[in-house]
Subunit: 147 residues, 2 copies
DNA sequence: TCAATTGCTTGCATGATGCACGTAGTTATA
DNA sequence: TATAACTACGTGCATCATGCAAGCAATTGA
């Protein structure tokens, strides 16, 4: 066991595994006043980072079934958080693009999560926060890349 | 928006929000050969950290409905990953305790996640890893505490 | 032209979850 | 003591997210 009996985790890997387990629930849950659920927020975020994408590419990026993404896209489209345009190079596909309303909705989701985190990070000094930011960002990139 | 258009997140809070969104899926999914699903692994971890607990206390700690925990406990009990004993101070309740098999199952779940993370952290130096471990551990504690 | 492929959608089954309710055991009060 | 109120837990039911399989439409290749 790489987590000792009463101390904290012994490695960064275990610390992250513990963190995901401990707080995952709080991020997965739809937060108060939040307008998009976590999966759909992730979809919006993907579009924000990568620009207009085809549905199948979103499914690949998010490691979800295309049918699941199809339903999310429908719901987000109903709320005009995304819009679908034709793919100029393939008439079967459509390019899905974030709308301004979608940016606002995504921003709101981030703000909700920010509030929770800001509370936990309240007594961290700037250097620790910056270190954490850099490392988490690197980690997210590394985990996302080889996906 | 606290996440800039093409750079990484600008604050540690956003970096973590992004991380949860980016990789949450990989930890939530039942990994290959894994014997317990993520929710049940979290239950085992809770028992590991806090010792024998009553069902209602587990529900509080995990922020799940008691009925959900009841079902998890049944399934984990069937597989003898936990055992239920009488609560000496309340005949209605039972104390739920991790078995040795449960520790093994939990360890296996952690190993699975470790493998994914180790790959992503492969090129980090020891100092960065140690920093990350400390900060993640602190963060998990902070987030878990005010829960 | 027609078969095979690809992008997407829909029907269906499964599994996790919460709520409402029921049962058994406990505590408080007359 | 008797009885009412409360608590811990389990079960039935509805809901929702998801994946798989099948289908439809458009593209590509022979």
């Amino acid at each position: 066991m790489h987590v000792s009996e009463s101390d904290g985790p012994e490695t960064a890997e275990d610390a992250l595994a513990q963190l995901m387990m401990t707080v995952g629930r709080r991020f997965r849950a739809r937060l108060d006043g939040d307008t998009v659920d976590p999966s759909q927020a992730a979809l919006l975020y993907t579009l924000k980072c990568r620009g207009a994408m085809r549905l199948s590419d979103i499914a690949d990026a998010m490691k979800l079934d295309a049918s699941t993404v199809s339903r999310h896209v429908q719901q987000l489209g109903d709320r005009e958080f995304i819009e679908r345009g034709p793919d100029p190079v393939d008439g079967r596909a459509s390019l899905i693009r974030l709308t301004e309303a979608g940016r606002v909705g995504l921003k709101f989701s981030f703000e909700q999560r920010r509030a929770i985190l800001a509370e936990a990070l309240a007594d961290w000094n700037d250097e620790d926060r910056e270190q954490l930011r850099i490392q988490l960002s690197r980690l997210a990139t590394a985990l996302g890349d080889h996906a």
